[in-house]
Symmetry: C2
Subunit: 316 residues, 2 copies
């Protein structure tokens, strides 16, 4: 069952002890550059540095005790693994995370630092699935999918719930699109609260399965997705795709150059650290892919986990 606004409200109450209510920042310079009023919901300042903490907390908090006793499990090279690890620890639940052995050192440290039990696998989907199945068989842990799960979708939607509660009268809401958990939950919240708000998703040109799926009217699996926005490479799931078709007004794509430029612009002008995935929305605005002139536009900045030794503008 597709989550409702009430599910998202319930999630907000449930996750409040385990998450930050993140600030909404504005920037007069960016308003001047875009001719709009931008309101940035800073999920890079969320615990574990990403909105993923919302969904993970909401999923674990609803586990029946007899299941929670066996822990939770997932495979992840990114923010979902860290979020599941921390949310589990805060609730006294064991977390098992299957990680590819080539994952970024900073991600390995984060997941280990949050006390998860890590199983290393090869960097292929087959190896991930195989190792995860073995972990589940051994431990009885409950698998928590990173996005194709109603509890996760409802949890991510709390970001939009908070934003719309704090900033009234938004005309537009924009989020990045990876597997679709964030935009699904946020679109349900936004359209339920303000029927006339327009919801736009943005993805990298090199990982544009959401745009192609919407155009085709059926899930189109991505063909070797690639982008510096490494949080946006996952394919849509069936549940997130159904919600996107129903609630999202348009999906836009942006170039790698535009993502790197927008990311640097956010660092320089807003003084916050965002990862490339967070910058796709501003990239779309600065590239003129969406017209928000004169509008009040909410933007979800999804995360801030980035290797400070390897910044896109120092790539040479």
């Amino acid at each position: 069952m597709e989550p409702t606004l009430q599910d998202i409200r319930d999630a907000a109450a449930r996750i409040a002890p385990f998450t930050h209510r993140t600030p909404v920042l504005t920037c007069a310079t960016l308003d001047g550059m875009t001719g709009a009023q931008l309101f940035f919901k800073c999920e890079n300042l969320q615990k574990v540095g990403a909105f993923k903490m919302r969904g993970a907390s909401n999923a674990i908090a609803q586990l029946e005790p007899r299941l929670a006793a066996h822990g939770v499990a997932t495979h992840s090279s990114g923010n979902h693994g860290a979020a599941l690890a921390l949310a589990a620890r805060l609730m006294g639940v064991k977390a098992h995370v299957v990680m590819p052995d080539n994952a970024a050192a900073i991600k390995k440290q984060a997941v280990a630092g949050y006390g998860a039990d890590i199983t290393w696998c090869k960097p292929t989907m087959a190896s991930r699935d195989e190792h995860l199945a073995a972990v589940v068989q051994r431990t009885g842990a409950t698998i928590v999918h990173p996005y194709n799960d109603e509890r996760i979708i409802a949890g991510q939607g709390t970001a939009a719930l908070e934003l719309l509660d704090e900033i009234p009268g938004l005309d537009v809401l924009m989020t990045p699109v990876g597997g679709g958990g964030l935009i699904s939950g946020c679109a349900i919240a936004a359209k339920s609260l303000q029927a006339k708000i327009r919801v736009f998703g943005v993805e990298p040109e090199g990982a544009d399965d959401a745009r192609r799926s919407v155009a085709a009217g059926a899930l189109v699996p991505p063909m070797s997705p690639a982008s510096i926005a490494d949080g946006l490479l996952a394919p849509l799931g069936e549940k997130t795709f159904a919600i996107i078709r129903r609630y999202v007004d348009d999906i836009t794509v942006v170039s790698e150059t535009a993502i790197a430029h927008a990311m640097r612009t956010i660092w320089e002008r807003m003084k916050i650290v965002v990862e490339p995935s967070s910058a796709v929305t501003l990239a779309a605005i600065l590239e003129g892919k969406v017209d928000i002139r004169g509008r009040r536009c909410g933007i979800i900045l999804s995360g801030g986990n980035v290797d400070l030794d390897r910044l896109p503008w120092l790539a040479e």
Copy 2:
């Protein structure tokens, strides 16, 4: 006359239309690393990316109209020039900024972007003073000193006023020390509101005139100050020194290595961009120079203006 708590409250009301009420962020990981509860007042997220916007706004807002008509002037290679330029523009006042021709490109762009009239000088104090005098003679502008001025001191104190209003029961307040405007205003606010709070200042080893002045009981001018914390090179003024002697409990110094490490730690863990000057307080805590274990400690992060092409950890 030394500013009073009432002066700082008046300043807060006066500057509200021209400044952000900046967020206070916490970080569970840093609390764990330090054994304390840290509350970071994020002046890097202030307009122009620095607390300087507070003092500049407070000074210009109090100019008599017959003076304001001739504009304001200062010399600055840093954040005060940008703050004066923007605050002046927001109040419809002309700003004249004397800048050394070797100032960082990002600072030049900022001051120019805020619409100030820029006069280039050589990078010596004599050349700065000479050009500033010429500007004043030509225009009749009022000089606004970056820190040795009661209106500036009261304006900077509003950062502590907001922090203590939002976070009750702080045991300690820490700020960086450059010319002393920030710590002076914040110490008056903090000690007036909570007599038992301890106020600590931190400066770089290579620019430790505040520590030496306090020890000597008289202003000791700095000898060729040098540090990556380029916002902390200015010498104390007579007014700020008098307030520091009266209200500040201790001045601590930190090494360049500790500053760079603390700066990177803030970026990685808190996902915010701070300049080296902002990181001296956390550096002192992580180096064990101040003992705040078990305490609730407020920290003013002073600014976030940094050249993203030249980060200390990429210096090789």
